[in-house]
């Protein structure tokens, strides 16, 4: 496996992650407890402790294009159990955010990434989530038009799918929040 390519790049990447994380990568001593307890480890290409070490080694491309960062559901089991108190869940957020800002579209887990994007678009335009619109737009974007559709009739019958969404009154403030922080 190709590891360190350029010492300056390695330092820059590790420093950027540490600054956003407010934590030190060197805290991790690779015990692997985070990976042992991870509920989605069976789907990952790199385990959480590998992601931490790879970040420290500056393997930016591999980390930012990994399945792992998008499969993590932020259940916080890893951070809760980490004997060093390292922000394992936090590093996944940081890496996703860096990938997103760099415009990296995950090749293998793009649906998870798209769901987050469509979700925030929905918040931006309504201030609240309009579930039917969210699901519709997500399906159009991923082209999984029929997946889960068999659930719809019964959900409608039970009153779970509302036909109209609510928009908040002060949408200007929501627009300002997105403008200032997006």
């Amino acid at each position: 496996m190709k590891t360190v390519i350029n010492e300056q790049n390695r330092r820059n990447f590790a420093a950027q992650v540490e600054a956003m994380l407010h934590d030190k990568l060197a805290k991790c001593y690779q015990c692997g407890k985070c990976s042992a307890g991870c509920p989605v480890n069976f789907e990952m290409d790199y385990t959480p402790n590998q992601i931490i070490k790879m970040t420290e080694l500056g393997m930016e491309d591999k980390v930012l294009n990994s399945k792992t960062i998008w499969l993590c559901v932020s259940c916080n089991t890893c951070s809760t159990r980490c004997p060093k108190g390292f922000e394992v869940t936090g590093i996944m957020d940081v890496l996703r955010e860096i990938a997103e800002k760099k415009g990296i579209v995950s090749k293998v887990e793009k649906e998870v990434q798209m769901f987050h994007e469509v979700f925030l678009d929905n918040v931006k335009s309504n201030g609240r989530i309009f579930e039917l619109e969210l699901v519709g737009k997500y399906k159009l974007k991923t082209r999984h038009l029929f997946r889960d559709m068999f659930l719809a009739p019964k959900m409608l019958e039970k009153g779970k799918l509302k036909m109209h969404g609510e928009k908040i009154a002060d949408l200007n403030q929501i627009a300002k929040i997105f403008k200032d922080f997006e």
Partner: protein, 294 residues
């Protein structure tokens, strides 16, 4: 004490049963809560997954509206919302630079002096066990109930500061107050797959299947939850899980507010229990003298 109520988006949509049953039991308990005016979505998992600052700023608007409206406490029944509100509150208390940026953007001050409660904290801490016990008119004796906590009520412990992150018992205590028998099992705090329900359904069904089959193995009649997303995965996806793993489950999933409501003598219909995908009628028949089965 002025109590603010932050419903969140799910309680106005797919998990309307949670809001109906919550408001019904609060009416019975004679406790008044006020919805935060013009509240917005907390950003849920999507915001913190791809934009940290937004994940603090979105909940901050709700918190600032509540605090400036003179409220001392916020009830967020959705586990994910309570998690995001508490996380934002924590960030605002510990990151002065981000706090200034956010309060400047919102043009509202925020002192971070309110207590933010999830459903279980509210029931145990604000309502109190004695008051709940005194309201139990129809003890649910003979009913075996498994409490499923999931992730967001208890983790991360340094921010949630609620119960034991590996073996929580608060919901089991509430179940015991209703006269039902709490069922112990292994997957109380294992993740159901949460937000990846639509984007990774196979993973979610594997995780949720583990939880449901373990509950079944331990002999529970039904499951109680305090999270709309957990409910959605355990209830809405249950038939599909039965088909995928070719083994019947038939486990109704109720919100803790519905179970309490039943023990208070409120009818299943008034608690919107008929809104769930897995019908609870057969199990509810086990409860003696329950008024109006549907």
């Amino acid at each position: 004490m002025k109590l603010a109520y932050y419903p969140g988006c799910s309680l106005k949509g797919t998990s309307f049963e949670y809001e109906v049953s919550l408001l019904k039991i609060l009416e019975t308990l004679n406790i008044e809560v006020k919805e935060i005016p013009d509240w917005n979505c907390c950003g849920a998992s999507a915001a913190h997954s791809i934009n940290h600052n937004l994940s603090v700023a979105l909940p901050a608007r709700n918190l600032a509206i509540a605090e400036n409206g003179g409220y001392e406490s916020v009830l967020a029944p959705c586990a994910a919302c309570s998690n995001r509100l508490k996380s934002a509150d924590y960030e605002l208390k510990t990151d002065d630079i981000l706090k200034k940026k956010i309060t400047d953007s919102l043009e509202m001050p925020y002192k971070a002096e309110m207590s933010i409660n999830n459903m279980l904290e509210f029931l145990i801490g604000v309502v109190g066990k004695d008051k709940i016990k005194s309201m139990v008119k129809k003890p649910l004796s003979g009913l075996k109930v498994a409490s499923y906590y999931g992730c967001l009520l208890v983790r991360p412990p340094k921010i949630m500061k609620f119960d034991d992150p590996e073996n929580p018992v608060t919901m089991d205590e509430l179940v015991a107050l209703t006269g039902a028998e709490p069922v112990d099992y292994s997957f109380k705090t294992e993740c159901c797959g949460a937000i990846n329900s639509l984007s990774k359904p196979d993973v979610v069904m594997a995780l949720t299947g583990n939880i449901l089959y373990d509950i079944k193995k331990h002999g529970a009649d039904l499951v109680v939850v305090a999270c709309p997303l957990c409910h959605s995965n355990l209830d809405v996806r249950q038939r599909e899980i039965e088909r995928k793993y070719d083994e019947k489950l038939g486990l109704p999933v109720l919100f803790i507010t519905e179970l309490l409501g039943l023990s208070f003598g409120i009818t299943p219909k008034d608690l919107a229990i008929d809104g769930h995908m897995v019908a609870a009628d057969r199990v509810l028949k086990k409860i003696e003298g329950l008024p109006n089965q549907q």
